[in-house]
């Protein structure tokens, strides 16, 4: 019987690892569709940003109460996972609380900490469910945000309910185990005097006092199994979910933009053309790349991008834009801060990120059904993101500022605009007028450049 459980457990762990590896490979292949760009520079600054923003959750504390609640789930997630180590070893070796006899003095302290966090996670998940579905926090509502369709809302509910379920399983497992230990049943009794009652689960023990020994063993075993299988299923589920930010949030912040938010990225391939047009000496490499790019990142081969200015589809974006899309947990802080969205325009920075991920996943489905080189005839621009959305952006960077994991929706908007303007000549008519004014009159308005200094005539006029 014991050995049967062990084999089953090893199969479960094995298939989880196999599944997740497959998912990681698929997601990293999708991210590598993006254009290469070296983001391994300035390691010190990047590390510092990651410590502050990702590990320290700095931007979550813009709203301190929500910041604290999220911090509870976050620390709970990281710290309770230490207990997973023991659970997995117990599962493989067929032992029970393997570490307890070896670290007897600290063992209960550790489990107490896990239990307090588990209770905290449980409570916060309930609050978060209420915020979404009872208090109806605006940024989560479909009536206000058309990207909050059925799936994103269901996804959020599944995650919160799963976490509540896992925490209940963990706490009641400890409680049923304590009762078994008190009664001295089988191997459970062997830990009497070594393992005491725990800080939270001791209060749950009364629930089990009427259970027979066998019923108690059945509950203990099933809660143990449901807890660990739940964690494995959750880990796989996360790779399909918006909840992937728990893993990608860290690298995403590490590789995030370092330049001032107002600085829009230069296009070296255009610098070359402009230098030729103005008869200036060239400062860029013939292929348009700026001096050597060592520490290559995803998507080193670039033939597709030559001759296309800006981005029409995900392949034209940079790999970091695609990692951004997978790191987005659809919290909507960007959209809540967006002046266009606030005033009822169609643009929603969150939708830009969700569209980018949806498009990537559509491409992945194409790979599965038609082979890895399959290209459909759809594109991120037009099929997902419309010109009306793009044109509404004021480039105010409020979305960039608001994102707790340093996602930059504006960068995607700008690249799509570049494609529309430079490849399709599809700027709004008044923008075309502005362009021609700049070109001909050196100002965005139709004034004669020779009148530019006329203001100086009025400098001595009385106010």
């Amino acid at each position: 019987m014991e050995i049967f459980q062990q084999i089953l457990f090893i199969i479960a762990v094995g298939s989880t690892v196999w599944f997740i590896t497959k998912r990681i490979q698929l997601i990293s292949r999708a991210i590598k569709l993006g254009r290469s760009e070296n983001r391994f520079d300035h390691a010190d600054e990047r590390l510092k940003t990651m410590l502050l923003v990702a590990f320290g959750q700095k931007k979550m504390f813009t709203n301190p109460l929500v910041g604290i609640m999220h911090f509870v789930i976050y620390t709970g997630f990281i710290i309770i996972n230490i207990e997973i180590l023991e659970i997995i070893l117990d599962g493989i070796l067929g032992t029970h609380r393997l570490f307890a006899p070896y670290i007897t003095p600290v063992y209960p302290v550790l489990i107490d900490v896990f239990e307090v966090l588990a209770f905290g996670v449980l409570a916060v998940c309930v609050v978060f469910l209420c915020r979404r579905f009872v208090a109806k926090v605006d940024r989560f509502q479909e009536e206000r945000h058309r990207e909050m369709t059925r799936w994103p809302r269901t996804d959020a509910a599944i995650i919160l309910l799963a976490e509540i379920f896992l925490m209940i399983a963990f706490l009641t497992w400890n409680a049923s185990d304590s009762v078994l230990r008190d009664r001295g049943v089988g191997h459970y009794g062997e830990l009497q005097g070594i393992v005491p009652d725990f800080i939270i689960s001791q209060f749950l023990k009364p629930l089990f006092l009427n259970f027979s020994d066998n019923a108690l063993i059945a509950y203990e075993r099933s809660s143990w199994w449901l807890h660990i299988l739940g964690i494995m299923a959750f880990a796989v589920y996360v790779t399909y979910s918006k909840h992937l930010h728990i893993a990608l949030g860290f690298p995403n912040v590490y590789f995030s933009d370092l330049q001032p938010k107002g600085e829009m990225q230069n296009m070296p391939e255009i610098t070359k053309e402009v230098q030729l047009a103005l008869g200036l000496p060239l400062t860029t490499e013939p292929d348009g790349s700026q001096a050597n790019d060592n520490g290559e990142q995803p998507g080193a081969d670039t033939p597709a991008e030559i001759g296309r200015f800006g981005a029409k589809d995900v392949q034209d974006l940079k790999w970091i834009n695609l990692m951004n899309a997978y790191s987005c947990t659809e919290c909507g802080r960007c959209t809540a801060a967006c002046p266009a969205n606030i005033t009822g325009k169609k643009l929603s920075p969150r939708k830009i990120m969700m569209d980018t991920r949806d498009r990537l996943e559509e491409i992945q489905r194409g790979w599965k059904t038609h082979g890895p080189d399959y290209r459909d005839d759809k594109s991120l621009l037009n099929d997902y993101i419309t010109p009306e959305e793009l044109n509404a952006c004021t480039t105010c960077q409020a979305c960039v500022n608001a994102c707790p994991v340093n996602i930059n929706p504006l960068d995607i908007i700008l690249q799509l605009r570049r494609y529309r303007v430079m490849e399709e000549s599809q700027a709004p008519a008044s923008w075309n007028a502005m362009f021609s004014n700049i070109e001909n009159n050196m100002a965005p308005w139709k004034f004669s450049p020779s009148d530019r200094f006329n203001w100086a005539d009025q400098v001595n006029d009385v106010n």
């Binding site: 480039t395 105010c396 530019r452 001595n460």
Partner: protein
């Protein structure tokens, strides 16, 4: 004292070069500062301050051209780089080292986007420049109009604030007026755009339920301020239009920080 005749001068880089001189600082006027009737008054106020403190400054005059900011943000990178490189050629030919500008869009572009194209200068926004003058005691804001008891609220420009993290300089400048500074709810890093950035100024807004500048002006009016202070030509237009939209132009005025300082200094 009341009839003191002041004459202000505006030397150009070309004049200076012809005289074999170099200015301490170049004042980059910008397109709005050169052509927009309302913002020309800001340019003049700032030039008077420059004259008043006796700094050796110059402008490019007719040699100045749009930095290309709206073109780049609208997606026309070609046009942006054409503008940038031509401007850099002019600036470098005059050996320009330090630039001050009253436009956050010009400021951001000159400071952050020109270096990669070969134009590296020490660029400051006029709010920082005025802050320095006040800190050094070169401007005392004493001889002119008193702002005591006036209620002023400052509207952050995206390209000064979020883009370049300059939040305190304009507020320090306003503090020198000894007025009553009141803050809106969305300020500094969380400041709400006036609606003009990203080349929005040059086209009609997309369909929506409200214009961005109206949303922002409602917030500004909510503070009870009688003066909305700005530090950007586009914010100036958007906020002024918003105040008109709310029919409050008689009781609420929009001013650039340099205009307020010039008035406080009696210039």
């Amino acid at each position: 004292m009341t009839q003191e005749v002041k004459t202000y001068t505006v030397p150009t880089m070309a004049d200076m070069a012809a005289a074999g001189q170099e200015p301490e600082i170049l004042f980059w006027v910008g397109c709005a500062g050169s052509f927009d009737d309302r913002y020309k008054r800001v340019t003049i106020a700032f030039v008077r301050i420059l004259n008043h403190i006796g700094i050796k400054f110059a402008v490019l005059g007719p040699e100045e051209a749009c930095t290309g900011d709206p073109a780049r943000r609208a997606g026309n990178e070609f046009l942006f780089q054409m503008q940038a490189m031509s401007n850099i050629q002019v600036l470098n030919s005059y050996n320009v080292k330090k630039i001050v500008t009253a436009c956050p869009h010009c400021f951001n572009t000159l400071k952050n986007e020109y270096p990669e194209l070969g134009g590296t200068y020490d660029v400051i926004h006029h709010s920082q420049f005025l802050q320095e003058l006040i800190n050094e005691g070169r401007i005392k804001v004493k001889d002119g109009e008193s702002f005591k008891g006036k209620k002023i609220t400052f509207h952050d420009s995206c390209y000064l604030g979020r883009a370049n993290k300059i939040y305190e300089a304009p507020r320090d400048v306003l503090a020198a007026l000894d007025a009553d500074l009141v803050e809106m709810k969305r300020v500094k890093a969380n400041g709400l755009c006036c609606g003009a950035g990203g080349a929005q100024y040059f086209k009609e807004p997309e369909p929506g339920k409200k214009d961005v500048n109206v949303e922002r002006v409602e917030e500004a009016l909510g503070t009870g301020a009688d003066t909305i202070a700005v530090a950007c030509p586009f914010c100036m237009t958007m906020m002024s239009d918003g105040v008109k939209n709310k029919n409050r132009e008689d009781s609420v005025k929009v001013f650039d920080i340099s205009e307020l300082i010039a008035r406080g200094e009696g210039l």
